[in-house]
Amino acid sequence: MKEMKPFTTIEEMEADTARLKEIACELCIDTYEDRKKQQEPHCKFGEDGICCRICSMGPCRVTPKGQYGICGADAHAIAGRHYLRMAAAGSAAHSDHAREIAHVLHKTNANGPYTIKDPDKLIANAKEWGIETEDRDIYDIAHEVAEVGLMEFGKPFGTLRYLERGTEERQKVWDAEGIAPRAIDREISTSLHMTNMGNTADAEVLVRQSLRVGMADGWGGSMMGTDFTDILFGTPTVRSTEGNLGVLEENQVNIIVHGHDPSFSEMIVLAAESKELLDYAKSKGAQGINIAGLCCTANEATMRHGVRMAGNFLQQENALLTGAVEMMAVDVQCIFPALGRLQECFHTKFITTSPICRIPGSEYIEFTADDAEHAYEKAKALVKSAIDNYENRDRSKVFIPEHRQDATVGYPTVQIIKELDGVTNSHIIDDPRGSYKPAIEAIKSGVLRGAVAMVGCNNPKVRADYSHIEIMKELMANDILIVGSGCASQAATKAGLLRMDAKEICGDGLKRVCTLVGIPPVLHMGACVDISRMMLLVTSIAKDWGVETTQLPIVGCAPEWMSEKAVAIANYVVATGIDVYLGIEPQVKGSTQMMELITEGTRPICGAGYVINKDPHELVQSIIAGIEKKREALGI
């Protein structure tokens, strides 16, 4: 084999982290690793989901001698309520993020700063919702689409509009099983109400509502968040970028954008591109302005601008510890409050921008849709203050790990279709463009065995990124195509698996598909909110194939999940008919019934469930076995 640029191993990543940890030790500041040790052993009752602190009679916990809480709730009710509340909170997070985007859409204006970058998608969405588009100003349409979208959060009657995008079979299942979500806020509210003191104690009912509130996320908030973000900032296309801390620049002003809501980071990226600020940076002795992303803000910005990715969730402290960051500007979700204390050790400015995420130790500069008109000016001011901070960098404290990998990112569904069009044959009638048929043919024939959506966070309960990378490599070796989002795809980026030549470590089937189509073996589909894209992907594949989603040799996998958002996601993925493989146990272990319900009990309802295994090597084998079983059932 020809010599290749090396991939970055987990050991190399850990060595970088260890070196940065030493810096933290020298500064006498803790990192998540210290705090994790301090927290251990974790409270067993909490971990098993059988500690109830919903009312002030308790807390109550289930023990061999006390099988019921004071109100009489058993382990199943307690664990089930806790589980539903996690799902509801996750759904709330994604959906509230989407609501903010919808408000920004409502504020769009031909004069900016927020404009419409994908009018075709806007018009398609408007038509889907029966909104008049003929002879109308694009911004009028945008505002009406935003209004109708915002009504999805609180409309008194009916179910969510996006459900009609599902397969006919799914729509029937959702209706028949009572998991078709009504208004998004209503499902969240209902969930909180049901789990309130003195309400539902039947675990199965709680699990059903978990599916429904999850659906309100995946086929509601998240889907809207993704669509409206595309309309506002452009549907992503393929881009080349780089990932890992090595993207921080020794001689440039480093600004890290971190969080999830791109309406803030888009403005920062735009501002950093202005010549005025670039000149200003040069006047301050910097060679340029380097915007790097963290977490899902990185995913959003890289897909639309090629902005490089500094890393994922557990890399946030490391980024600051390099001592080379002039500014860490965050929006919402997954931000460690620890950053507030950590930034005090460096010159780094820590900026919070959302009323949803206020953190002590940060400077708060509010960016909301209400004040959209001034977003660009404020972003410029922020970038300028980062530039001003460049001279304060203490070069003796700087350590930028050298590891960074090339990556090709930006595969929303339309892009995947476009890539697949390239392998169709215009002379064959039965070979239409604009469909997933080429991918389906590759799967049916056995060239590809199936596909896995690799998603989810990092979790210190397991070796950071290790499960992601190990599982992905094994899937690749077994000709299983990967679509990734969130922190999972950043783990892949850091390891080099988003490189075009990563096909060389795949089985021949996946390798050939990558070569013919011209894609990397792991397709970066975006942020965690973009898992909604994956739901549309499997739906369209099922439609083009002529089978149900439950029959597809396609599964989801979240080996290192930690956020409540992941619980919401897992629920809507299962409700869509796709099995979910988890590497971290949901906190319901104290209830045998709940464990049974989430792994098997959902199957009669929606044809899918969880498979849980903490060992990544065993987990990936069960994924492969699961895929092969689905293939066998299809006779392929």
């Binding site: 392998v423 169709t424 002379h427 590759a442 056995g446 077994n478 089985g507 021949d508 089937g509």
Partner: protein, 709 residues
């Protein structure tokens, strides 16, 4: 529906079982020590060698190799195994064919082509890189009708696609009386699917010859065949499991399969394509393999394609014979003032084809006048030399010779189709305009058959040739300002670079210094780039720092230094499509030169393929060097080692070709007459001792020279 992978499992098992049976029977008959060899190749059993890096000399070796090949047959449903199994199926097929050749070195007796020689592989080097052969197709099974079979084959032929036929389709085209053979790029390989082994062997030898891929380097072979061999497969219904297994091997190599059989057939994008409309196979296939055909639309009543370049028109099939040995003939390109040229004017002076008797011998002249603000008179001979290629591409027309000694035959079939002289004009016009559009703005063609006018015009032409020769004579490596490189072959042989100088043309024989110069000016970022010669290191053996830098860069770091005039010290590399190869002969301390066409043995104890396999693919092998025929009579040939006086042996045919130029050069260098006669050939010696006797008897100058080693 039977799973695709299961079909491959069963098909591979079938081929392996057949190979086992054949091998067992052959060993029982001949014994394990019986030799196994394919004729005219230095690469043994190329497919087995490519995959297993095993040299097979006898049936015992073959048995051992087959045992290893069996480990490639693993029934696990992953494409890696399927690909291996497909390749294993090819190895099994090669075992079957090797047994056949072990029993009889000529098993097909001309009925089928069977094994392809190394020389045939090398012959395709140039047309492949120039895209004259844009790809290969393997057609298997009978078409729905004989007519359709011919239509398909001809369709590929007219697009320049090289056609391999296997199985029933061969009988179909034979029944239709179609003319086929290697020279017209339609090869009837054999009647059964296992003769596919010869095609695969051909492909792997191309990788070894042009790509310097080493036996056993599976990754490199896959890479080479996928990216550089633009082949694909057409299989007519029914496709059996054994064919599916071969298809797996083809697809592994990067060659898609197009079929009309739907039963148990699985579509795989760009790999297995079901096209029910067999009339649309050509376009479907070309798109599947991403082959784009350069289309030259020329309004003539017969086909025009590079596939007809090697076509021979026999005396009995001839309508008209243009014979330069008896009558005036010439071809000429001339630059003229723009106002004197009427674009696309084609004039015939004298009688047309239909006005001559059938089979009559006549004289004929062609003048193409061109203009353009970037046109230079140095381009004239470059265009003119291509008349040969242009005219040969016409179906039913054969052209040989150049300048004022031509032989052109026009077939009855072409005449019957309506072919007349004006169509030669159309071809020249269209090709000159399309090939040289960067410099030619207008072009008009005059054709002459009127004997008087012809004679006058020929004398005029002769003056032009003389003037050119005068210029060429003064054009030496010392007098020109720059050299050129040529990396045309890098699409095939990525590590090789030619340095082209006035006295050393490219080893393929197709690129002279003027050609390179024209190519550079027509396309400044194209395959021929200027190489300066300012920093001389050693003019005697031909080392320039500039040249070394260029070679290092263009060979991607593969080569650090080449000499232009030595075969002992860092000789120039070759891609593999060289016209001739020379190698040191130790007894005489001279060199033996053999051309690609020569089939026999040389006094080195090696044939052309064996000598050729010593080098190629951008590898430097001191003592062996590939080169063009014209280089033999150059003053710079082996200048560092004493010049062409070192040549001790050449095939007679080659001697006769180079004699007119070689003798004067030898006279100039060594003061001896009739030097060529002092060189031995196959008529006097095929081994060293007899050759030495001949050299002594004839007082060959090498005997007076310093030893080479």
């Amino acid at each position: 529906m039977k799973k695709l992978f299961d079909r491959v499992f069963d098909g591979a098992d079938e081929m392996y079982a057949l190979a086992q049976k054949t091998l067992d029977e052959t060993i029982a008959e001949l014994g394990e020590s019986a030799p196994v060899a394919m004729p005219n190749t230095a690469y043994g059993l190329a497919t087995i060698s490519a995959y297993l890096a095993k040299q097979v000399n006898n049936l015992g070796d073959l048995k051992a190799a087959f045992e290893e090949a069996k480990t490639w047959n693993v029934h696990e449903p992953r494409l890696t195994n399927i690909f291996n199994m497909g390749k294993g199926t090819f190895m099994a097929a090669e075992v079957i064919e090797a047994c056949k050749y072990a029993k009889d070195p000529d098993p097909y007796k001309g009925e089928y082509h069977g094994h392809l020689s190394d020389a045939e592989v090398r012959e395709l080097g140039v047309p492949l890189v120039t895209d004259d052969i844009p790809g290969f197709v393997v057609i298997y099974n009978p078409a729905p009708s004989d007519e359709e079979a011919v239509e398909l084959v001809k369709g590929y032929q007219t697009r320049g696609i090289f056609v391999f036929l296997l199985g029933g389709v061969i009988d179909q085209v034979k029944r239709q009386g179609m003319n086929f053979g290697f020279n017209v790029r339609v090869v009837a390989v054999g009647p059964d699917i296992w003769q596919v082994a010869h095609i695969i062997s051909f492909v792997y030898r191309a990788a070894m010859i042009f790509g310097a891929v080493q036996p056993g380097d599976k990754w490199e072979f896959d890479d080479y065949t996928y990216y550089r061999i633009h082949a694909f497969v057409n299989v007519f219904d029914p496709v059996t499991d054994i064919v599916v297994a071969c298809g797996a091997g083809a697809i592994a190599m990067g060659f898609p399969v197009i079929t009309d059989d739907e039963k148990d057939m699985w579509r795989v994008p760009k790999s297995i394509l079901i096209q029910k409309d067999t009339k649309d196979w050509i376009e479907t296939s070309l798109e599947a393999r991403d082959i784009k055909i350069k289309i030259t639309n020329i309004d003539i009543p017969v086909a025009f394609s590079t596939a007809f370049e090697g076509e021979i028109v026999r005396k009995n099939d001839m309508r008209l014979d243009i014979d330069g040995s008896k009558y005036d003939t010439f071809e000429l390109v001339r630059t003229a003032e723009s106002h004197l040229i009427e674009d696309h004017r084609i004039e015939l002076i004298g009688k047309d084809i239909d006005e001559f008797e059938e089979g009559e011998s006549i004289g004929f002249g062609m003048i193409a006048e061109v203009c353009g603000k970037d046109m230079q008179s140095d381009f004239e001979p470059v265009f003119e030399r291509n008349f040969h290629n242009f005219i040969n591409c016409i179906e039913g027309v054969m052209h040989t010779g150049q300048r004022d000694v031509l032989r052109i035959r026009i077939a009855k079939s072409a005449f019957d189709a309506g072919f007349r002289f004006q169509h030669i004009g159309e071809v020249l016009y269209a090709k000159i305009k399309s090939e040289y559009e960067a410099v030619v703005d207008k072009c008009q063609v005059t054709l002459i058959t009127d004997p008087e006018k012809l004679h006058e015009a020929r004398l005029e032409a002769k003056k032009v040739y003389d003037k050119r020769d005068e210029r060429l004579g003064t054009m030496t490596d010392e007098t020109v300002e720059v050299f050129y490189n040529c990396i045309l072959c890098q699409s095939f042989s990525p590590a090789h670079v030619c340095i082209v100088t006035p006295e050393r043309l490219g080893l393929c024989g197709a690129v002279s210094w003027l050609d390179a110069k024209a190519t550079n000016q027509l396309n400044p970022t194209g395959p021929c780039q200027i190489v300066t010669k300012d920093r001389v290191v050693d003019e005697n053996i031909g080392i320039w720092e500039d040249v070394n830098e260029n070679v290092f860069k263009c060979s991607h770091g593969n080569l650090e230094q080449v000499t232009l005039y030595s075969i002992m010290v860092d000789p120039m590399t070759s891609c593999g499509c060289f016209e001739c190869i020379c190698g040191i002969e130790p007894f005489s301390q001279g060199v033996v030169i053999v051309n690609r066409e020569h089939q026999g043995m040389t006094p080195l104890g090696m044939s052309f393929p064996e000598m050729a396999s010593m080098t190629g693919g951008g590898v430097q092998t001191p003592g062996f060097m590939g080169h063009g025929k014209q280089f033999i009579s150059s003053r710079k040939f082996m200048k560092a080692e004493g010049g062409p006086g070192r040549i001790v042996w050449m095939p007679k045919e080659l001697k006769d070709l180079v004699r007119p130029k070689l003798d004067p050069v030898a006279k100039e260098l060594y003061g001896i007459d009739d030097f060529t006669d002092k060189i031995a050939d196959e008529t006097v010696a095929e081994e060293a001792e007899a050759m030495m006797d001949f050299l002594s008897e004839n007082g060959h100058p090498v005997l007076e020279m310093e030893p080479l080693i």
